[in-house]
Subunit: 262 residues, 2 copies
């Protein structure tokens, strides 16, 4: 049986392309960056690229395809974005209409694909530094909350930002800020440490996405910009067509986590 | 007489708009970022934005206007890009046709303006750290060279990168690298330290732009990505219309140098 944890990215993408690997990619091709995917018609690509530029903490852009191309010059030279994600979500005019395992039938020479940083990368660095992550300990997804903080608007894209939350001691929160300053391409430093009411989160036990986590008495909630933001903002704009990865089914890139640290 | 060195950016932009200040802006509104300007038709904006994203060391994008707008959400909320630069260069199909003091007559609701980081900002930080800069000592422009290093192409924009060169001792070169790692939005760390023949520069005494500087026996040439790159690459693409600032007549932004350090 193939060791999916230590497999090379090219080999893993081929297994996904051939539908031999279909599940969540968490922990696979260890050490390589996994990315969020947004595929849009060219008509929306300029506004979306501008949105990414203006909102680096919630929408950290890793790579962008040329128009109509299925690969990425830096993050996946021999990739095919229409087949190399295990499960896609297809939305028309903001409505989910399909969750296929490839999107060859929807792709044309006027589409552009965006790879956006994912928190897997900085979580790995936090764990290496001995900072425990509660949602991993509890074995579920990180809790995510829609804030009342507006993202910088860009063309047709606007909306409030979504954050993910990880509880930790204040000492660990400061150390985590220090570490994530070196991971600007995967959300960077926290957006807030402490009081969620400051930016419109009423109840930490009822996240908008993901599952709640226990916060211990000596811990504070630490909030990072979340990759759900670009998807939700893009969906609000109701483009004729938008394709994303299905949650947990990330695009496996050729770039190592360690190359992202700046 | 107005103290142009300690004037606020808004006031300086008004003087430039009213044609009361017309010369080079070097040293004016001290402490505030000055930016390179590129104004393009919307048709070229997406490719140019993508080029900036793919080439952050030579083309560090600071801000981008909305389509047809003359101001910038972050770097100049009350600015007017058609009047607030002291001298412009207007190119049609890659040919210089005009050097006006405003471009109101050329602007329309399908134009997009880009502000690109300029080396003034990091040079200030190097001087503060006690690193001498020869071209300033000699009282002329920095020498710039076209290399054989290709920029990452994006759509219709492609070409080799241009670098600026500052000679210094190896000790200062290492310290300068340390300092400029915190100035990613104004070219960041050097592209090369040492041997110019490695990337196609034959003769340091004959720069492609600017003036040569003396290199002392105990010094090495240190090369940074240069803001001439986006202009020259954009010109090579021969768009119907491209407007840039004239050399030395920078756009004065509302953002302080110190806010750019990361």
């Amino acid at each position: 049986m193939t060791d999916l944890q230590n497999i090379e990215p090219q080999a893993l993408r081929k297994l996904i392309r051939d539908k031999k690997v279909t599940g969540h990619t968490s922990g696979m091709a260890k050490g390589y960056i996994q990315a969020n995917v947004v595929i849009l018609p060219l008509d929306y690509a300029y506004d979306f690229l501008k949105f990414c530029f203006k909102n680096p903490k919630t929408c950290p852009l890793l790579d962008i395809s040329e128009v109509g191309e299925v690969n990425f010059s830096k993050y996946g030279k021999d990739a095919d974005i229409t087949t190399d994600v295990g499960a896609y979500r297809v939305y028309e005019n903001g409505e989910l209409i399909e969750t296929p395992t490839d999107v060859k039938h929807l792709f044309n020479d006027q589409m552009v694909s965006f790879l956006i940083g994912c928190s897997f990368t900085f979580e790995h660095a936090l764990l290496e530094a001995g900072i425990p992550l509660r949602h991993l300990e509890e074995g579920h997804n990180v809790p995510m909350y829609i804030t009342n903080i507006p993202a910088e608007p860009a063309g047709r894209f606007e909306g409030n930002i979504t954050v993910s939350m990880r509880p930790m001691t204040m000492k660990d929160a400061i150390r985590a800020t220090e570490i994530t300053t070196h991971f600007k391409n995967v959300h960077g430093t926290p957006i807030h440490i402490g009081n969620p009411a400051d930016f419109g989160i009423k109840d930490l036990e009822n996240p908008d996405f993901g599952e709640p986590v226990k916060i211990k008495d000596n811990e504070v909630p630490v909030f990072w910009g979340c990759g759900v933001t670009p998807q939700s903002v893009a969906l609000d704009a109701k483009p004729e067509l938008i394709i994303t990865h299905a949650p947990g089914h990330m695009f496996i890139t050729d770039v190592k986590d360690s190359e992202l640290s700046d």
